[in-house]
């Protein structure tokens, strides 16, 4: 129980740290983004709207920093994320994010989890059959694929499957322009077609890391005495592989998954960019190009929350799987 409380505490603390960073970075950078903000919206928003935008953003220069900080935290928590000053000028940030979120969840979320699960299973089998054919091929191949830059694999994918006159798959966007969104079979098929290449990119690049760590964990676990005991007891190979070896080898892999999420996010941003896939990553990129500070900050906070939630879920699963974690203070 204490373990869970500690992890929850960590969650809150990290979130607070991220938000604080988010708050102070603009103030510490050289130049004045504040001025840039004013310049940018000068002719497009009334002074009143500008002031309310600034205060939502936490930039009210008439209040002292501490008050602004508290106000900013309150705003972030309650969903008052301000108005975009970038491409979609004046549109509430919340609305923009709401549009992009499902696409990212679908593409990045699904492929990441899939890469992790597939990677784990392949790693288990590769680690179990030491010295076999699979074990000879797997490490060198996946060491290389795990070091490939996400965006380069994306470009390669486009080159192979989506360019020229005989393109197999689309390389742009999430569904063909002009199609009406809905739950029709046609639309869904189109969405899937658009998601294959970006999804494959993420899958190929991300899976390598998890295969390798799982394999290494398996090999280390297989030399443990309790695995030999399993053999001595005459248990079937499958039972030993899953119940004794994999169950123990999986635990460090799970915490590794949580740690590596940040890196996967960065790759996902690049993939969305290359494929013009309108998810949160693409939105983040556009926000930087347009110096859309409100959108930028909200996105950063949201991505942080997503990663932290995933970490928390991993912590809960570890708690469930490992009796020693339950005993640890």
């Amino acid at each position: 129980m204490r373990y869970l409380l500690r992890r929850l505490g960590f969650f809150v603390l990290t979130l607070w740290a991220a938000l604080t960073l988010n708050f102070f970075i603009p103030r510490m950078m050289p130049g004045s983004p504040l001025q840039a903000l004013r310049d940018r919206t000068h002719n497009k928003l009334s002074p009143a709207a500008l002031n309310s935008l600034l205060s939502q953003f936490g930039f009210d220069p008439h209040q002292n920093v501490a008050v602004q900080y508290v106000q900013y935290l309150k705003n972030m928590a309650t969903g008052h994320w301000g108005i975009s000053i970038g491409g979609s000028l004046g549109v509430p940030v919340r609305k923009l994010i709401g549009q992009a979120l499902p696409w990212t969840l679908g593409l990045v979320g699904v492929t990441t989890v899939l890469a992790f699960l597939l990677g784990t299973v392949i790693g288990i089998v590769a680690g179990w059959k030491r010295g076999g054919l699979l074990d000879g091929i797997v490490p060198p191949v996946f060491v290389v694929t795990s070091a490939l830059p996400y965006f380069w694999v994306a470009l390669l994918m486009i080159l192979l499957f989506a360019s020229g006159t005989h393109a197999l798959l689309p390389n742009d966007g999430n569904y063909t322009n002009g199609l009406t969104p809905g739950f029709s079979g046609h639309f869904i098929f189109d969405v899937i077609k658009h998601a294959i290449l970006p999804g494959a990119t993420i899958l190929i690049t991300a899976i390598g890391g998890w295969i390798l760590t799982m394999r290494n964990n398996m090999i280390t676990t297989l030399s443990e005495d309790y695995v030999r005991m399993g053999r001595a007891k005459g248990l079937s190979n499958r039972r030993i592989m899953y119940g004794y070896a994999a169950r123990n080898a999986f635990l460090p892999n799970l915490s590794g998954f949580a740690m590596s999420l940040g890196f996967v996010i960065s790759g996902a941003i690049l993939v969305e960019y290359v494929f013009n896939y309108p998810g949160l990553g693409y939105m983040l990129y556009n926000a930087t190009v347009n110096t859309d500070y409100p959108l930028l900050q909200a996105l950063f906070m949201l991505i942080t929350v997503a990663v932290l939630v995933a970490v928390l879920i991993c912590d809960f699963v570890t708690f469930w799987l490992d009796p020693r974690a339950r005993a640890k203070a």
Partner: protein, 313 residues
């Protein structure tokens, strides 16, 4: 007596004299590990390209525009073709190695230094110092760093190499710090450290002269991991246009090729070639890193199956 012995016993041959290898076990281990050698060779090639580019190409200033015809396809005159602005792509690749390699090594080095400082200190301080440092490490570990880098780079203004390196160091040290802390904790109570303490050595001496040398392989592995992270992240940043687009590196080459729609307009080499270099350099670090894993943990080394003679009776 000797007659009886000769009938009942076996005379063994002379044992071979013991030979000691010069140069220590580490070099031998690297030499015999195929992955390590592959990674090392690739890295050395790139190092050569960065140090003496003149060895590889005759072009002196690859970034100057309009030297050659624009958008030429790969051929005998330009091995990899030319860019929109008439620059030789192959020459750019060679000269671009320098910045990419420099970023990787410098950012990797400083990130490792930070990891060692924070990780070892946390383990040695114990108590509240340890809790605080561990918390700091875990926070940085979990924060999604790429978005943070993007935000930082945007606010700091584009085009600053120093900012890129600082940001890479600040976001890249946390993973290593955790590993080093764990290792230090497990080594802390070992006898050789205990004997140094009892001898009355100062704590700083113990850490630097006794502890760190035993963790060398872990520190090197961390450095390789940090360098890999730096290569990929820097390339990603520059690709998005957040580096210095007027400087020459693989990442900026990718930016310009993407900007000018190379892939779509049928000039794939311009888009793919710099990426291959990034991938290769990254792969060399990854291979070396993986090989170091095998060297420090013998259980992971490739297993030789022994021929089992089954005698039936």
């Amino acid at each position: 007596m000797s007659a009886i012995l000769a009938n009942t016993a076996i005379v063994t041959g002379a044992p071979e004299p013991a030979r000691r290898r010069a140069g220590g076990g580490l070099w031998t281990a690297v030499r015999t590990n195929r992955k390590a050698m592959a990674g090392l060779i690739i890295f050395l090639i790139f190092a050569a390209m960065a140090a003496v580019p003149r060895l590889f190409t005759s072009v002196k200033h690859p970034n100057d525009a309009a030297q050659y015809a624009s958008l030429a396809h790969p051929g005998s005159q330009h091995w990899l073709g030319t860019t929109q602005l008439g620059q030789d792509i192959y020459a750019q690749l060679i000269y671009g190695t320098r910045q990419s390699l420099v970023i990787a090594l410098i950012a990797g080095f400083f990130a490792t230094v930070l990891s060692v400082l924070i990780g070892v200190s946390a383990a040695y301080l114990g108590g509240i110092g340890d809790e605080a440092l561990s918390l700091l490490t875990n926070v940085f570990l979990v924060l999604p760093t790429f978005p943070l880098i993007i935000v930082l780079a945007t606010y700091a203004g584009k085009g600053n190499l120093l900012v890129v390196i600082v940001v890479l160091v600040v976001t890249g040290w946390s993973y290593g710090a955790n590993q080093l802390r764990a290792q230090t904790l497990s080594l802390r109570n070992r006898d050789f450290l205990e004997s140094a303490r009892v001898r009355g050595e100062r704590r700083s001496y113990i850490i630097v002269a006794e502890l760190l040398p035993t963790m060398t392989s872990l520190i090197v592995a961390n450095f390789l991991g940090a360098a890999l992270y730096a290569v990929l992240t820097a390339a990603g940043l520059q690709f998005l246009g957040l580096g210095d687009p007027s400087s020459l590196s693989w990442g900026t080459m990718l930016y310009w090729s993407q900007n000018d729609g190379a892939l779509q307009s049928g000039y794939p080499v311009w888009a793919i070639a710099p990426g291959i270099c990034v991938a290769l350099l990254g792969a060399s670090f990854a291979l070396l890193n993986y090989a170091f894993d095998e060297i420090s943990n013998p259980a992971l080394r490739p297993v030789r199956r022994i021929r089992v003679k089954r005698t039936d009776s």
